[in-house]
């Protein structure tokens, strides 16, 4: 015990010196609304719905983001377009609940839902933070401008059946070839 007495006394007194010294230093605080901070590149904040390189909505309303969401802030309804494309009739994210964990973006098989660095989501009316599809949908591909889900799966939506890369022409059972 005696070995530590001086160390302990020093340990008790040292903070007084540190805090006293800090008292006369310049604070590191960024005065937020007047000064803005440079955010890290991969900052996770407000979610968006991106589009395919060809302009179509990427979201196929597969419900995987809402399943992955730990706070249940995403809800949607899938529907079918005339060409068989599955898309969201409505898509809602409740940003009053969202904790910006980014699990939805990891779950998204079509890279539709992506995060942005826009964190300024405070407001007095909670309903204004309930975003509908029209508020979420953007006009760009986000951070991947090459991926197109419908080109990877042969269900014949953006291209006729069997016309996508990595697909053969549809089988014809009546074909002459054995």
């Amino acid at each position: 015990m005696s070995r530590h007495v001086f160390r302990d006394i020093r340990g008790t007194l040292q903070p007084f010196w540190v805090t006293l010294r800090n008292l006369f230093r310049k604070p590191v605080t960024v005065q937020y609304p007047e000064q803005k901070q440079q955010l890290p590149e991969r900052y996770r904040a407000r979610l968006i719905l991106t589009r395919d390189p060809d302009g179509g909505e990427r979201c196929v309303a597969c419900h995987l983001c809402s399943a992955a969401c730990p706070v249940d802030c995403i809800s949607m309804q899938a529907t079918e377009a005339a060409d068989g494309r599955r898309y969201a009739a409505w898509f809602r994210i409740n940003f009053t609940r969202c904790i910006f964990c980014g699990l939805c973006t990891e779950a998204c098989p079509t890279k539709a839902i992506q995060v942005t660095a826009d964190f300024e989501l405070a407001g007095r009316d909670p309903l204004k933070l309930v975003y509908e599809k029209v508020d979420l949908l953007v006009d760009h591909c986000g951070n991947d401008n090459s991926y197109n889900f419908y080109h990877q799966t042969g269900i014949g939506v953006t291209a006729p059946r069997g016309e996508n890369p990595q697909e053969t022409k549809p089988m014809d059972v009546k074909d002459l070839m054995p």
Binding site: P15, V18, N22, L23, T29
Partner: protein, 331 residues
């Protein structure tokens, strides 16, 4: 008749003055604490309300007043409502005996610069300040919440642990001043403050009032990160505000007592006595804030150990030594 009336008016006036000054000080101590802590942690602290955040206390009061006054479903209603008041009122009551300046002559009367100059002021202080823990205990118990109850139990045993040393640390002061009157104690320090004459008693007293004020490193009854606020977990709005303001009034009061007992009260060169008094009080308060910025919270058993195994023997020994010295000096 006129005499009595005059006394009453005088007391009321002093009460009003002290009320005003103490509450004002408590309010701005909160701000000062937040600013100082902020700067010590390389932050600004509140700076949005008014110039340099000076209107922050007002904003806090408005916020607390307009918040919902929440009563837990199974709380003991009356005790729950009364408890915060006990804390705030007892803290204020102590101030009744604190002399903040020398006696003054008004209309040919000698008026003590305290609400009353009790000849048993020390006992009064010890008695009333012990009452403050009732606020903590009753508030925590009446909330009917686990956290609150744990907080109040801690508060109670904490009081038992340090109250003894607190009283004993004052015995040398009384012995040296030969009076229980705070006025006399200050007068006894006209030349040399007791801090220098008996630093051990002063140190014990400082530790005890830290505990008394429920502040870091002895804020076990609150312990936000273990007990979620402890005894005041269930309080909201102005009732929480009363607990809060009580704590800071306590700070001012204890600072004043520290000044009175050990720092020589209003005595000092050049400046008027009241200013000296204020400066000393604020310095003590500043020390409290500084300590808060520097020390971690003690563990519960450490507090008990300190109270019973260190402070108590030390203060007893100190009494013995002081008595011996006084006897030896033949004073």
């Amino acid at each position: 008749m006129a005499d009595t009336l005059f006394t009453v008016v005088l007391i009321l006036a002093k009460l009003a003055l002290i009320f005003g000054v103490v509450l004002f000080m408590a309010a701005y101590l909160v701000l000062a604490e937040r600013k100082i802590l902020g700067r010590m942690q390389l932050r600004y602290g509140p700076n949005r309300v008014g110039p340099f955040g000076l209107m922050q206390p007002l904003a806090d009061v408005i916020k607390l007043l307009t918040k919902e006054d929440f009563l837990p479903a199974r709380a003991d209603k009356w005790l729950f409502l009364v408890a915060p008041g006990i804390t705030a009122v007892t803290a204020l009551l102590v101030f009744a005996v604190v002399p903040f300046g020398p006696t003054i002559e008004v209309f040919g009367r000698t008026i003590p610069a305290a609400v009353v100059d009790l000849n048993v002021g020390v006992l009064y202080f010890l008695g009333v300040s012990s009452m403050a823990v009732y606020g903590v205990v009753l508030g925590g118990w009446a909330s009917c919440s686990k956290y609150s109850l744990l907080g109040s139990v801690r508060g109670l045993s904490q009081m038992v642990s340090y109250e003894l040393s607190l009283g004993l640390s004052l015995v040398p002061v009384i012995m040296m001043a030969r009076s229980f009157s705070l006025h006399d104690i200050v007068m006894a320090q006209a030349s040399v403050p007791f801090l220098l004459l008996n630093p051990v008693a002063c140190f014990v007293f400082l530790i005890c009032i830290l505990a008394e004020s429920n502040r870091i490193p002895f804020d076990l009854p609150e312990a936000e990160n273990e007990l979620v606020g402890g005894f005041h977990t269930e309080y909201s709005g102005m009732r929480f505000g009363l607990f809060f303001v009580g704590e800071y009034i306590n700070l001012v009061v204890l600072g004043s007592l520290m000044t009175v007992f050990f720092l020589g009260g209003w005595h000092g060169p050049w400046l008027p006595p009241v200013v000296w008094f204020l400066i000393k009080v604020l310095m003590v308060c500043g020390l409290f804030i500084w300590i808060r910025a520097c020390l971690p919270r003690l563990r519960y058993d450490q507090l008990m150990n300190l109270g019973w195994k260190v402070l108590l023997p030390v203060s007893l020994l100190n009494i013995l030594v002081t008595g011996a010295v006084l006897l030896g000096l033949g004073l």
